[in-house]
């Protein structure tokens, strides 16, 4: 049996049934944004920790940046 072509009236009816919820889309978008930003925050915290460790070791004399 051939697949019936979708009529415009069917499309209108489908659109009316599945009207997008604005609030849900906004919160979904914000949630995705916060999720992606959390990766950046993890990168920032990691970099800060490494920098503080570097300067702590430099001040304690454990490492040096001088070429002897």
């Amino acid at each position: 049996m051939a697949h019936a072509k979708r009529l415009p009236v069917d499309a209108v009816a489908a659109a009316a049934r599945s009207k997008p919820n604005l609030l849900r889309e906004i919160f979904t978008g914000l949630g995705l944004g916060v999720f992606c930003a959390s990766f950046w925050k993890m990168h920032h915290v990691n970099e800060r920790r490494k920098t503080e460790e570097f300067y702590a070791k430099l001040d304690a004399g454990e490492i040096t940046v001088r070429v002897e």
Partner: protein, 315 residues
Amino acid sequence: MILKNIWLFPIAYCDAAEPWQLGFQDAATPMMQGIIEHQALTPILHHDIYIFLIIILIFVLWMLVRALWHFHYKRNPIPERIVHGTTIEIIWTIFPSIILMFIAIPSFALLYSMDKVVDPTITIKAIGHQWYWNYNSSDEQSLTFDSYMIPEDDLELGQLRLLEVDNRVVIPARTHLRMIITSADVLHSWAVPSLGVKCDAVPGRLNQTSIFIKREGVYYGQCSEICGTNHAFMRAPEYIGRLLSLLWLSRTFSNRANLGASYPKSYRSNIMARAVGKSWGSMGLPSLGLPSKAEDMVRITSLKRRARLKLDRTS
């Protein structure tokens, strides 16, 4: 100047421009650390703003894609006839203002902290010319020299193209410095990205900036204000020597006769002795029980203060 690795590998600092570089050069001053990331008691800027940027970017992209998806002409043949929505318009006006307020607070804190000049040990004047810098330090002894970029044909192996100069500025690390920038002809700008410094050189005006460098190294900068045909070939590299850099000290203290009106001999001789590697204990000063670099800082500050008091009493 090795590319900084992330995650598991140790850091090798990048203090000069790198090919295909995307991010900042590595910070060497608290000011630049405040601009990029976080240092204790210093507000962050770039990393802070980036969080808001990512959230807004993902949110806007999501809304765009979903709008295209939901209102595709085949899925939604009759277009919506929305004219206005007062509530949502109020929300999308107030919400960005709140975001801007969260961005502005650390930004202003950093901006005002940049203007503070903490009792500097030395003052260096950088005078912009077409197309070189002249450096002048007249604290202990008048020292002035020109700094020209090394042409490509004269570079030695390992030197950086268009960044090296014949005379570098040698300044001590872990010391508060004051830079005074001016120009002798047209506008220039003295900029060193690793130090977070960019100061315009305006003829007839003295601009001041303060630097505190946390680690030794060689830092490169480029003129940042169009100043003529060789604007791209004016350089400002600095060599941040040891806390007691022999080169700096030898240039500063070489002529003792001229220092009669300056710090007493005992101060100079203590600093010179430490510079050649003698310990404070061998000079009759008891150990403070601090790490060596911290002890150096405390000793130099204390000696300088005592020398200044002695000078005031005798003058």
